[in-house]
Each structure stands twice: as structure tokens, then as C-alpha cells.
């Protein structure tokens, strides 16, 4: 067993959250810069230049890249051989994550965007609760990934239960259609997370988890899905939607597909879109 201090986890997670909402990651900056250089549409090129300028201003002024500092989502990979020292006064890891998130949002003056109830809609005032997804694995490491997920892009998500008779082409066409329907709403150029397989609940989790993949240009290790990602990105960037939906080539920066086993009667598919302010990061402890 390895002992791990929750105080250490808390301080690391807090700075992860603060960093993610202010500093665009190097792979995103590279991706935007590369796309700006190759963008054939002049006003789209200007838009991409403005997004890069926005990232510079946020970093310099230490303010959020986007006013929608999002719902806080954690994906935790928890080694079975870990023993936590409760040296921060919390009851454990979940409470530690929640408090680190709340403190980061309050101290950094991030917007609190969560409401208590979907119909009565009172702001919780501290962006709580964060959504926490757990996965367990052998060993003694702890990996915590964070995504600040904006509401506008989240609203463009789609889920469909296909049947096994459907071809890969039909599913790809549906994914592209999802991006076209979203148009300018999710603040393109977007990152497109796709989940295939699993069941009704895990397929949307897969689609969101797909957004975590770094670096941005990394392909699925399975060449079958790597090829699908490449085709999808090409098709999406052939739609002409462009940055901010004002026309141009750069509609998406990356498409990440994650697949999982499913029931022989089913073929679930889900799309979770993220905006160009792709605020994703991780700490490994």
C-alpha cells in the first residue's frame, strides 16, 4: 500500500482547476496557430488570430479564457493500492475534490454556473457540485483529469441507439450531421468527442472521456478508429461552417472516438462537443 496525503491532492487539484480555466494548453495553442496558417478563408483566419489573442490576454491578465468557466468534471483513475491520509480535515477523496474545486472557483473569481435543480434553477453559489467519474485500476497511482465544460457546447450533445445493421458510414454521417446542426452554437472550432458502444449510460461518458485525450492531435491507438477520426475531421472541416460559424475550413480541431463492448442487439453512439476554449488538464500523483 502507498500512502497519499489528501492535502497534497487538494492543493494539486486546486491549481489544476485554476490553470485550466486561464491558460490554454500548448497543444491547443499549436493547433489554433497551425489552423490559422492554413486557413483559406481570410475572415476565418482573422477569427482564429483573435482566439489566439484571447488566450494571450487571459494568460497575461490572469482571467478566465471564457466567462463560462463551466461545470467542473473530474475523471479519476484510482489505483487499488492507495491509502489516503485524511490530513486535510475532509472525509475522503470525493470531498477533497469538491472542496478544491469550490476554493479554486471562489479564489480565482470564476463564474459559478451550477443551479440546484433543473426546474427551480437557483444558483448554488459555489459551482458545486462537481461531477466525478471513478475508474479503478491495479497499482498505486492516482490520475485526476479535469474538464471545465461550457454549457453552450454541452447543449449540442446527441445520443442515438443505432442497431447492429447500421454501417460505420451511417454512423459517421450522423456524427457529421450533429456537428452541422450545432453550427455556430458551440463556439467552433470545436473538439468532438464520440462514444461508440457500451450502453445507454456509458456511451455518453465515453464521449465526454474522449475529450480528455492529449495531445489534441493524438489518434486512437486502434487504426480502425484512428482512420475513422481522420475521415470525420476531414468531412467536418469540409462543411464550411468555420470558426464561430462564420464560414471557413476550421470547424473542428480534432475528433476523438472511444469505443467499448456492447450488447449484441445494440450499437449506442454519443457525441459530446467542446468549444475551442478546450479546458482540459490532469495531474498524476
Amino acid at each position: 500500500m502507498r500512502r497519499l496525503s489528501l492535502s497534497l491532492v487538494e492543493s494539486q487539484v486546486k491549481s489544476l482547476v485554476e490553470r485550466c480555466c486561464v491558460d490554454l494548453s500548448a497543444d491547443l495553442l499549436d493547433g489554433l496557430e497551425k489552423r490559422r496558417g492554413g486557413e483559406p478563408c481570410p475572415w476565418a483566419e482573422n477569427t482564429l488570430a483573435s482566439l489566439l489573442e484571447n488566450a494571450r490576454v487571459a494568460s497575461r491578465e490572469r482571467i478566465p479564457l471564457c466567462q463560462d468557466t463551466g461545470m467542473a468534471v473530474f475523471f479519476v483513475l484510482l489505483g487499488d493500492d492507495l491509502l489516503f491520509e485524511r490530513d486535510n480535515g475532509t472525509k475522503g477523496l470525493e470531498e477533497t475534490l469538491q472542496r478544491a474545486m469550490r476554493d479554486a472557483y471562489r479564489e480565482s473569481s470564476f463564474r459559478t454556473s451550477m443551479v440546484m435543480d433543473p426546474l427551480r434553477r437557483k444558483n448554488t453559489g459555489d459551482n458545486s457540485p462537481a461531477f466525478v467519474h471513478w475508474e479503478f485500476l491495479p497499482g498505486d497511482s492516482l490520475t485526476i483529469s479535469f474538464i471545465a465544460k461550457g454549457g453552450g457546447a454541452e447543449n449540442m450533445s446527441r445520443l442515438k441507439m443505432f442497431t447492429p445493421a447500421c454501417s460505420a458510414e451511417e454512423i459517421e454521417a450522423w456524427i457529421v450531421e450533429t456537428v452541422v446542426q450545432a453550427g455556430s452554437n458551440p463556439c467552433p472550432p470545436t473538439v468532438v468527442g464520440v462514444g461508440l458502444g457500451g450502453n445507454f449510460d456509458t456511451v455518453s461518458w465515453l464521449a465526454k472521456r474522449a475529450l480528455l485525450r492529449t495531445p489534441l492531435e493524438a489518434a486512437n491507438l486502434d487504426p480502425f478508429y484512428g482512420g475513422m477520426e481522420e475521415r470525420l475531421l476531414k468531412k467536418i472541416n469540409g462543411t464550411g461552417i468555420g470558426p464561430q460559424g462564420l464560414g471557413g475550413e476550421t470547424t473542428s480541431l480534432a475528433v476523438h472516438v472511444e469505443a467499448a463492448p456492447c450488447h449484441m442487439a445494440t450499437l449506442p453512439a454519443a457525441v459530446n462537443i467542446n468549444c475551442h476554449a478546450h479546458r482540459v488538464g490532469r495531474v498524476v500523483l
Binding site: 483559406p40 478563408c41 481570410p42 475572415w43 476565418a44 477569427t47 483573435s50 482566439l51 489573442e53 484571447n54 488566450a55 490576454v57 487571459a58 491578465e61 490572469r62 482571467i63 478566465p64 479564457l65 471564457c66 466567462q67 463560462d68 468557466t69 480565482s108 473569481s109 470564476f110 463564474r111 459559478t112 454556473s113 434553477r121 444558483n123 453559489g125 461550457g150 454549457g151 453552450g152 447543449n155 453550427g183 455556430s184 452554437n185 463556439c187 462543411t239 464550411g240 461552417i241 468555420g242 464561430q244 460559424g245 462564420l246 464560414g247 471557413g248 475550413e249 468549444c275 475551442h276 476554449a277
Partner: protein, 187 residues
């Protein structure tokens, strides 16, 4: 490089008329933020004949919910939210004098009709460009519904706030024309 138009609030019809979908605008003056819950409250006030939190006549509405003002700066970050969610409220607000709205994303056919009828502009600000946009904001203050937090109505004093005309006063729509112009190879 085509120079941007300069507009100052209150907006005048004769200054808005020459604008075309796709034009760049630098806006100076007063703009009011209102998003989902603020719209619901304004609608309720109108339905019940209660006084409104700010004069709608001539107003420019910004669909946005800013971050709080950090200690080291005069304003937080602010950029547009998705306008389509405010479509159910927009035609009534145009009929009561709102002259322009600012957001991101397309408007419904019903809203576009109302914009033409009442001669209202719809402009987009840089979505996800909140840090950059904040440089054009001189001050922010809550003017209504403070209990809504980020969904309260804020008055922003802006100088040269950068915008793109989406729906002009003549039926133009840059969310249709921009991608079409690019696809047809005539950027």
C-alpha cells in the same frame, strides 16, 4: 482590410441602415446583459404590468453572464452566450423598443421576422473570447435581479466593443452567407 463601422448608443436607425451582414462594428456606449433567468423575470414583469428594471426603449441587450470582478481588475471576463435560448422572448422585447441584441449562434425564423418588422440588429461577439472582450469594457454594475448572481442584469459601459453583424435590417444573415461565400470560393 475593410474598416469597421463605429456605432454609439443610443443607436439611430439611419446609422444602422447601411450595415450589412458580415460587417465589423465597434460599439461604444451602454449595453445591458440579460440571459435565461433575467429574460424570464422581464417577461413576468411585462405580463403583470410591473415596472421594468431598465428602459427597453433603444436598449442594446447582450446575452451574457460575466465572471465576477476579480480583485486585481475593474471587470471580469465576459463573452456571449447562445442566443437561441432567448428566442422565445425576443419578439416581444423588440416590439417594446430593444434596438439590437448581441450574442452568438443563429436566431429562429420568427425572431428574424420580428427583427425586420421592428428594424433591430443582431450582432455576434467573439464566442469564447471573454478575456479579449473584457479589454473593451470600461465598467460593470448590477442594475437588476442581484440575487441571480451571474444571471443578473448588468450595465456595461463599453468602448470600441468588437462585433460582427449577423442579421442586418435588410434580411441578411451572415451565418448563412458567410459559410456559403466560403464554400462557393468567393471569400
Amino acid at each position: 482590410m475593410i474598416l469597421p463601422y463605429r456605432l454609439t448608443t443610443p443607436l439611430k436607425d439611419e446609422e444602422m441602415a447601411p450595415l450589412r451582414a458580415g460587417d465589423q462594428v465597434l460599439l461604444t456606449g451602454d449595453i445591458y446583459t440579460a440571459r435565461d433567468l433575467a429574460h424570464k423575470r422581464i417577461q413576468e414583469a411585462i405580463d403583470r404590468g410591473l415596472p421594468l428594471p431598465f428602459p427597453l426603449k433603444g436598449a442594446v441587450l447582450f446575452y451574457a453572464g460575466p465572471t465576477p470582478k476579480p480583485p486585481h481588475r475593474h471587470v471580469g471576463s465576459v463573452g456571449p452566450t447562445t442566443s437561441g435560448r432567448m428566442d422565445p422572448y425576443a419578439p416581444l422585447l423588440y416590439s417594446l423598443g430593444v434596438k439590437a441584441t448581441i450574442g452568438k449562434g443563429p436566431r429562429s425564423p420568427r425572431v428574424k421576422e420580428a427583427q425586420l418588422l421592428h428594424q433591430c440588429l443582431y450582432m455576434a461577439a467573439l464566442g469564447g473570447g471573454a478575456a479579449l472582450l473584457s479589454l473593451s469594457i470600461l465598467s460593470m454594475e448590477v442594475v437588476a435581479f442581484p440575487e441571480l448572481g451571474p444571471e443578473a442584469v448588468y450595465l456595461f459601459k463599453v468602448r470600441d466593443f468588437p462585433l460582427t453583424v449577423i442579421n442586418d435590417l435588410h434580411g441578411g444573415d451572415f451565418y448563412l452567407e458567410g459559410p456559403a461565400r466560403y464554400r462557393e470560393g468567393r471569400p
